[in-house]
């Protein structure tokens, strides 16, 4: 179990955050800073930086390259703090 924007979300041990998000029907991982475009998984191998999410408050983590861990807190970007600026 991990948390996506505060919601308890199930995942398999060892899977990537991106896979867990997709498996739970979440395909919009973030919005772009200027035009607020919806973005999600694109290259799946760590090259494009489209799938970035915030993990435990740390921003710009590639969801496709990072494994889910129990109780991990993931937030889609921009984070609340960044949005306030």
């Amino acid at each position: 179990m991990f948390y996506v924007d505060g919601r308890a979300t199930s995942a398999f041990l060892g899977e990537s955050i991106a896979a867990a998000l997709l498996a739970n029907g979440v395909r919009v991982f973030r919005r772009t800073p200027r035009l607020r475009m919806a973005r999600g998984l694109f290259c799946g191998m760590g090259v494009c930086y489209e799938c970035v999410v915030a993990v435990e408050g740390r921003p710009s983590v590639r969801a496709c390259m990072t494994r889910v861990e129990a109780e991990m807190r993931v937030t889609t970007q921009p984070t609340d703090e960044a949005a306030k600026e």
Partner: protein
């Protein structure tokens, strides 16, 4: 920590692993192999997460088994294997230095020889709507389905070109995807032409041709329509893909007006080949040559697979996309050459081994050239975007934004400064080839490759604290009783009074 090595290999895919095995086999002592991922294997031999249980190993397929054997062999040779390490910098000097960041911090390795085996990634193809969630690369879809066991969507359209398109469509369907259509950009007659061309080049590679026919038969049996001479026109949807619009293209892949077909879909899987990862090579000054068919810019190499920077070798797809068979052979060749240069092999043994490797390499290259000739990337692909299409995904810059700034500029780097194109986290990986194309088209003359964005350190995005970590990156000053000054680093105890 002593970071001197005899050979540093960047990239743990087939080419890198083959180089490590061959170098160690010849007795090269200190070999370090670095890879960004958690496991070795690169893309083609990508492993399942360690926690996933494989109940029927044979069901994973021939490639998976082959990859496992290669990884097991690499683990048995007593080389220093460092997965989870991002190589972010390289310097040329009295020796070569490679900076890598892992869980333990940043390390800088020194070696007289470096083999770069950084592979390739899916060619980014801009078209209207390509940034919508649901548009994913063939590699990305494969990673999700094969490795993570998650379907990327409920109704999948595949668009692309090349021998991998059909193979991958079959694989997707076998793994449970609801594939509603496959659209190959090449005209149907290419496949018949392929039989003739391939027949001339094949020696023992007939299995690939048989496979192609088998794939088509499988898709037909399962009711999955395959269309030729069709390419993606645009992705439509509000927040995610809701429809895929495809259209006919001519032999040069230029769109044919009035030929659009709309398909209800939530996922568009895009596979128009791959492009080499060359940032590390460019940052140390390797001369590059552009080849559209090989995926883009590739390093110029001599017969030893050495780049124009002496002692720096490039092998596998990062030197021009040619597939895993060639990657394996090139890795072995470079490993052998380095062993010879370090005096680990006498000249005769070295020559014999290289001859034994170059023979199958030439055969593989002939076969590959025949395949490439049949499944050519055509330059019309650069005209699929409109002015309103996003060019730089990271910084949200459109083709129109860039063209406006090109009046009076012919320099990609100047355009970058004016529009921020290429300044985002992907560091130009998604946009640089198309940007080069647009720049070239703007200055007129034969439309071909244009100037690339300059590669700079770090070649992968890193938090600034890593580069500012002086204890890791800078050498410690010499210590001794005559030194009164004391350089404080993060790990040092507080200064003591000198007597």
């Amino acid at each position: 920590m002593d970071e001197d090595r005899d050979l540093v290999i960047v990239g743990g895919g087939p080419a890198g692993m083959a180089a490590a095995i061959e170098a160690r086999r010849a007795g090269v002592p200190r070999v370090t192999l670095l890879d960004e991922s958690t496991t070795l294997g690169g893309q083609i031999f990508r492993r399942l997460p360690a926690e996933f249980r494989v109940e029927v190993p044979s069901a994973m397929g021939v490639d998976y088994q082959k990859g496992q054997r290669l990884i097991d062999a690499t683990r048995s040779i007593q080389a220093e294997l460092l997965p989870d390490h991002v190589v972010w910098g390289a310097w040329e000097g009295r020796t070569k230095e490679i900076a890598a960041h892992g869980a333990g911090g940043s390390r800088v390795f020194s070696a007289p020889h470096v083999i770069v085996a950084t592979g390739a990634y899916d060619r980014p193809v801009p078209f209207p709507g390509w940034t919508l969630p649901g548009v994913i690369t063939a590699g990305g879809a494969q990673a999700m389905i094969k490795v993570q066991k998650v379907l990327p969507g409920k109704r999948i359209v595949m668009v692309g070109s090349g021998p991998l398109l059909l193979a991958f469509a079959v694989q997707l369907h076998q793994l449970g995807a609801n594939l509603v259509g496959v659209f190959e950009a090449a005209p149907r007659v290419s496949l018949r032409g392929a039989v003739g061309l391939l027949g001339a080049a094949i020696r023992g590679n007939a299995s690939t041709l048989r496979s192609g026919i088998a794939y088509l038969a499988y898709l037909r049996r399962n009711g999955i329509p395959v269309s030729y001479g069709y390419a993606i026109a645009r992705a439509e949807g509000v927040e995610e893909v809701e429809r895929a619009v495809v259209r006919r293209v001519d032999r040069e892949w230029e769109p044919v007006a009035g030929s659009e077909r709309v398909i209800e879909a939530d996922t568009i899987c895009v596979g128009y080949g791959f492009t080499p990862s060359t940032e590390l090579l460019r940052v140390v000054g390797c001369e590059m040559r552009y080849s559209l068919q090989r995926g883009g810019p590739a390093p110029v190499r001599n017969g030893d697979l050495e780049t124009t920077v002496p002692g720096t070798f490039a092998v596998g797809d990062c030197a021009g996309v040619q597939g895993s068979e060639i990657a394996l052979l090139e890795g072995k060749i470079a490993g052998t050459v380095v062993a010879g240069r370090l005096g680990r092999l006498d000249r005769r043994t070295s020559r014999e081994r290289l001859e034994a490797l170059n023979r199958p390499l030439r055969t593989a290259q002939l076969f590959r050239a025949a395949i490439d000739k049949v499944f050519q990337i055509r330059p019309g692909i650069f005209n699929w975007a409109t002015d309103g299409t996003i060019l730089c995904r990271c910084e949200e810059v459109t083709f129109g934004d860039v063209k406006k700034q090109l009046e009076g500029q012919a320099d990609a780097n100047a355009v970058k400064a004016l529009t921020r194109v290429g300044m985002g986290m992907c560091q130009g990986r998604n946009c640089s080839q198309h940007l080069a194309w647009v720049v070239r088209a703007a200055i007129g003359g034969p439309v071909g490759e244009g100037p690339l964005l300059t590669a700079r350190l770090p070649v992968k995005p890193l938090p600034i604290g890593i580069i500012a970590d002086r204890a890791a990156v800078l050498p410690r000053p010499p210590s001794g009783p005559s030194h009164q000054s004391h350089t404080v680093t993060g790990d040092d105890p507080p200064p003591v009074e000198s007597k």
